[in-house]
């Protein structure tokens, strides 16, 4: 039952975090600070069951992610089982550790789409941000292999202070790599990014210039590449509808099998997450305490309750509300109407030149 008694929506997407192992150390990684060890990872047979249950629940697309999904030796078997379940398969990869031979086998088995991340348009800076020498060159080679196999390619460029001046060059790089879609994804401050916030945070002037630039790049490259932008929400006036609303559109399965409403949900204390090892995905979607904790809008305080955007953004992000106010039910303080909005404005103005705390297991 939904908390508000209405019929439950059906999820459309499933983020499958196959492993937390990753050769890169990006300081804005969305994985939690406490990473799942290899010994706790779900086996391929369990993933196959999860994918069948997901399709029966209404899920259409599965995002095979991590960590670096290619760190799993059974990636091909896992991808094929998602395809067999009728799901659209999107491989989200760093490009490092994914051998050309494996990619070829994945293409043959029906992999639908690849998304590769890039850290910067300048090689030395890109490798520094990734914390991995040679990452940039390997990513470019991988992208060429993807395009040669005729698999559609999205480039995901994560934007922060060290590369925000090069949005134009990043879009040019995505075009040169043969991508048909590029995400200009401003860092969201959860997990490792929250830890590195002051080292990553761009200034307001930089953000405004970048947002304007995306608009003009869209006009310039219309018909050649789709430019999607994830807004830099510490500099926004309204919050994002996190994952399209809690328990409304998507679910996230961790390497060890816990099912979360979003990748950062474990940062909220007191939520009970059920595991695919003990429950079916349908049971978890409909009945797990974590999914029902913030479904609907009934739990929201003022100013959300009387706000005309209540069903647009659902009061914003629960994880961010907790991270910044200590109360997961609060209005996301990114919202200009939040009584805590001043805190976001203050944090957005803090830029510190200090070394990154790289994501390591």
């Amino acid at each position: 039952m939904a908390a508000n008694g209405a019929a439950l929506p059906r999820p459309l997407g499933l983020l499958a975090e196959l492993t937390h192992r990753c050769p890169l150390g990006c300081p804005y990684c969305s994985n939690p600070l406490a990473l799942d060890p290899r010994a706790e990872e779900l086996d391929a047979a369990t993933w196959a069951r999860v994918f069948r249950e997901a399709a029966a629940l209404g899920v259409l697309q599965v995002h095979l992610s991590g960590g670096e999904p290619a760190a799993r030796r059974d990636l091909l078997e896992i991808m094929a089982s998602a395809r067999d379940a009728g799901l659209y398969t999107n491989l989200i990869t760093s490009g490092v550790g994914l051998a050309a031979k494996t990619l070829g086998a994945l293409a043959e088995a029906g992999l639908d789409h690849v998304q590769v991340s890039i850290q910067d348009s300048e090689e030395a800076s890109a490798d520094h941000i990734a914390g991995y020498e040679g990452a940039y060159a390997r990513k470019r080679a991988l992208a060429a292999e993807v395009v040669a196999l005729k698999i559609p390619l999205t480039v995901n460029a994560v934007i922060h202070r060290a590369n925000i001046a090069r949005v134009e060059q990043l879009v040019s790089l995505a075009l040169a790599m043969g991508a048909t879609r590029v995400e200009i994804a401003h860092v969201q401050y959860y997990g490792w990014a929250l830890k590195n916030r002051a080292a990553l945070m761009p200034t307001r002037a930089q953000v405004e210039a970048a947002v304007e630039q995306v608009e003009s790049l869209r006009a310039r490259h219309s018909g050649r590449i789709v430019i999607d932008a994830v807004v830099p929400d510490y500099h926004a006036r309204f919050p994002k509808p996190c994952v399209g609303g809690w328990g409304r559109r998507s679910l996230n399965v961790t390497p060890s099998g816990k099912v979360l409403p979003c990748h950062a949900a474990e940062s909220i204390p007191g939520l009970a997450f059920w595991s695919v090892r003990e429950h079916s995905l349908a049971e978890i979607w409909t009945s797990s305490p974590a999914f029902n904790a913030f479904r609907g809008t009934a739990f929201l305080p003022e100013p959300c309750q009387s706000c005309e955007r209540r069903e647009v953004d659902f009061g914003g992000c629960r994880c961010q509300a907790f991270a910044l106010t200590g109360d997961a039910r609060a209005t996301d303080p990114v919202c200009q109407f939040s009584p805590h909005h001043g805190l976001v404005t203050e944090l957005a103005a803090v830029q510190e030149e200090r070394p990154y705390a790289y994501r390591r297991m």
């Binding site: 059906r10 459309l12 399709a55 029966a56 629940l57 209404g58 259409l60 697309q61 009728g86 659209y88 999107n90 639908d112 789409h113 998304q115 005729k150 698999i151 559609p152 999205t154 048909t180 879609r181 789709v226 999607d228």
Partner: protein
């Protein structure tokens, strides 16, 4: 046959590009067209049209087949199918 829509002639052989797939999902109540990070619900008629976009059949053959299967006027089917295929092509969900 005159062009059913801009860029679509009797000889056009429309097909779904790699990365775009039409699938049936019971829980979502029918056919959906899936593309990178995008999902489009397809009604029964749209699904019947898209299913025939194999890259083998010409637009004229697709229209003939639909007209026969649904015992409907050919002109109207050509207009409807042409408009649908044009809009899908504009969204890069179809190759002409």
């Amino acid at each position: 046959m005159t062009d059913a829509a801009p860029g679509i002639t009797a000889d056009t052989r429309p097909r779904l590009p790699r990365g775009v797939r039409l699938v049936h999902n019971e829980a979502q109540g029918g056919w959906v067209l899936l593309a990178p990070e995008r999902v489009f619900k397809a009604d029964a008629i749209a699904a019947e049209i898209v299913k025939r976009c194999t890259g083998e059949a010409t637009f004229a053959e697709i229209v003939d087949d639909l007209a026969k299967t649904y015992a409907a006027p050919r002109e109207r089917i050509a207009a409807d199918a042409g408009a649908l295929l044009r809009s899908l092509a504009d969204k890069k969900l179809l190759e002409l």
